[in-house]
């Protein structure tokens, strides 16, 4: 286990270095003098001079990268020119909103995806299977921002049951908080439910054809016990670890969902930064997201080894 951990961590170090180079390199895509572009429409000479010095633009590119990565390693992701705040502080301010949205979305995705996958595998090639596959295809093909607009039309405009947009802190009013988040969380969970359903179906089909399930059936266990106690437990191992990799879908989806429902989270931060030409925030958000994704991948791998005895032996 320790050897696995060391090997896996040794693997992610170069990946993290490349990620940082890639994100630093984004700045080089800006047309013209980065200091002038980053200074915004006013192009105040003082701001331009300040940026040139702060970004070490007179130095060669490798040196500039070293200055930048040194700052990053000390928690300095740059400063938002528009909001006059450190990027990391902005991310930390917006992150809880997105995390709450993402957590509810995952619960919804699990509640739809896993049962649909089980039913689809157990009732293979029946109407249930076709319906579950249809639901998965629907989830994978629906643009979530459109689904969001359609849900607003139905539940906010037509029925008047839920607020169309906005966010209320759970510490202020929990009921209003849930009412504001249920639609965006469903929109976000929809696509992930489809992926989970496909993973669960495929894992269940594999497990159901294994010898120990046949043995469980042969010794007369009720089908319910065979499915839930023996098959599902093992089938869920890859589902949960593969599901962890859906963080990317979740964060990408959050960008659009937060835009549709005007939720002041992580996703809205990057979109607002793009339109305000606040490039340090864009870089900071991408770097933060990528690092979180890599670390979550690592955790998923470790969890997989812990729960899967075969992997431990290997």
């Amino acid at each position: 286990m320790l050897a696995f951990l060391v090997r896996r961590i040794a693997q992610i170090v170069p990946t993290l270095v490349f990620v940082s180079m890639l994100i630093f390199g984004l700045q080089q895509l800006l047309p013209g003098d980065p200091a002038v572009v980053l200074a915004g429409e006013d192009r105040d000479p003082n701001v331009v001079a300040y940026l040139r010095e702060k970004l070490h633009l007179d130095e060669p590119l490798p040196m500039r990268y070293l200055y930048w990565i040194n700052g990053v390693l000390h928690g300095d992701l740059g400063e938002s020119l528009r909001m006059q705040k450190p990027v990391l502080a902005l991310i930390m301010e917006k992150l809880p909103v997105t995390l709450e949205l993402a957590s509810i979305a995952i619960l919804i995705a699990l509640a739809i995806g896993v049962p649909a996958g089980i039913v689809s595998a157990v009732r293979r090639n029946t109407a249930w299977d076709y319906v579950a596959n249809g639901v998965a295809l629907w989830g994978l093909s629906t643009p979530n921002f459109w689904l969001g607009i359609m849900l607003i039309l139905l539940f906010s405009v037509t029925l008047g049951w839920l607020p169309a947009s906005g966010f209320v802190s759970p510490f202020e009013d929990l009921k209003a908080n849930l009412a504001a988040l249920i639609m965006p969380a469903f929109v976000l969970g929809n696509a992930i439910a489809a992926v989970l359903m496909r993973h669960t179906r495929s894992a269940m089909l594999q497990v159901l054809s294994s010898d120990y399930v046949r043995t469980a059936r042969a010794k007369g266990l009720p089908e319910r016990a065979v499915l839930l106690k023996h098959a599902l437990r093992n089938a869920l191992i890859p589902v949960i670890t593969l599901g962890a990799l859906e963080l990317g879908t979740l964060l990408s989806g959050a960008v659009l969902t937060e835009q549709v429902f005007t939720i002041p989270g992580f996703g809205k931060l990057i979109v607002d930064a793009v339109f305000n030409r606040d490039y340090a925030v864009v870089q900071g958000v991408v770097l933060f997201t990528a690092t979180a994704y890599i670390l979550l991948n690592l955790l998923a791998d470790i969890a997989y080894v812990i729960v899967n005895p075969q992997m431990r032996v290997q």
């Binding site: 994978l140 643009p143 607009i149 405009v157």
Partner: protein, 294 residues
């Protein structure tokens, strides 16, 4: 976008495959895939013949027809400045299909040679390419595309480049995985044994066997690229107004959802139907090209 490297087994030499029905015929036997193909063909015809089939100029405004509900003159209704929604949906198909196909071509043109090199050369080259691929894959697809589009500047061309570059790692991984598996086959050893140079073995013997998996992944990637283009245009980073695009139409429509819902229904439905069709064809192709199905 899912990676097919783990789901599709490496193909053996195409010419030596067991006799079976032609993959295209097997694809057409799957009802979902056949319907998907028909729908895609319909959208392609619509996009190509937009100037002939569109009932109105998609940019023509009419102050007397602002936000009119669907009627006999405007089947899909009109938008906030009196433009015909049907005309804009038809012209929007061009942007979506163009973005879908061009961005996947960008991904293929970078991903396949790089993946082939990594898989065939192995060693340090493979390690370097794999770590670079991991780095790009670590950035969520749409977030990377947004960042690239933001730094390159908002336009349909830059959106296509951003989507293409962001989707490239999937093709690198797929090509690499398939190449590594095929490299160990006997017919490759034979090709090397008779003195073929490495580039010839890679291009003439390995690449043709990677193509089926690439076709499946490319079809599914077009579906993802269509959604990505619509997403970028929805955020204002893709096709710029007043040029029609399904994503930008939805961006405007969200402000009028209470009094002109038709503005949102049709472009969204078009994205859904087109993406669903590509997914159906992709799933059908995966089954039709998978040797385990024989």
């Amino acid at each position: 976008m899912s990676n097919l490297a783990d789901t599709l087994p490496a193909r053996t030499d195409v010419s030596r495959a067991a006799p079976r029905a032609h993959p295209f015929r097997r694809l057409l036997r799957r009802r979902g895939a056949a319907v998907g193909l028909v729908v895609i063909a319909f959208f392609v015809v619509l996009a190509v013949l937009a100037s002939f089939v569109s009932p109105y100029d998609p940019l023509a405004t009419s102050w007397s027809a602002i936000r009119k509900a669907p009627n006999s003159a405007h089947w899909f209704g009109t938008d906030e400045i009196g433009r015909d929604v049907l005309a804009r949906v038809i012209w929007g198909a061009r942007a979506s299909l163009l973005a879908g196909v061009v961005s996947v071509l960008i991904s293929l043109s970078i991903g396949v040679p790089v993946g082939l090199l990594a898989g065939y050369a192995g060693g340090k080259t493979d390690m370097l390419i794999s770590r670079l691929t991991d780095a790009v894959l670590a950035c969520p697809f749409l977030i990377l595309a947004i960042a690239l589009a933001a730094f390159l500047g908002p336009s349909l061309t830059n959106a296509m480049i951003a989507i293409g570059v962001s989707a490239t790692p999937v093709f690198v991984r797929l090509t690499r995985g398939q190449t590594m598996a095929i490299k160990a086959e006997e017919f490759i050893l034979a090709a090397r044994a008779i003195g073929n140079p490495p580039w010839r073995v890679a291009l003439r013997h390995v690449l043709p066997n990677v193509v089926p998996a690439l076709i499946v992944q490319a079809t599914l990637a077009i579906a993802a690229a269509v959604i990505a283009e619509a997403s970028l245009s929805f955020l204002g980073l893709g096709q710029q107004p007043p040029a029609p695009s399904w994503g930008s139409m939805l961006n405007t429509a969200k402000n009028y959802v209470d009094n002109a819902p038709w503005m949102a229904v049709w472009p969204g439905l078009s994205i859904f139907v087109l993406v669903l069709s590509f997914n159906l064809v992709g799933d059908g192709l995966r089954d039709a090209l998978d040797p385990r199905q024989v």
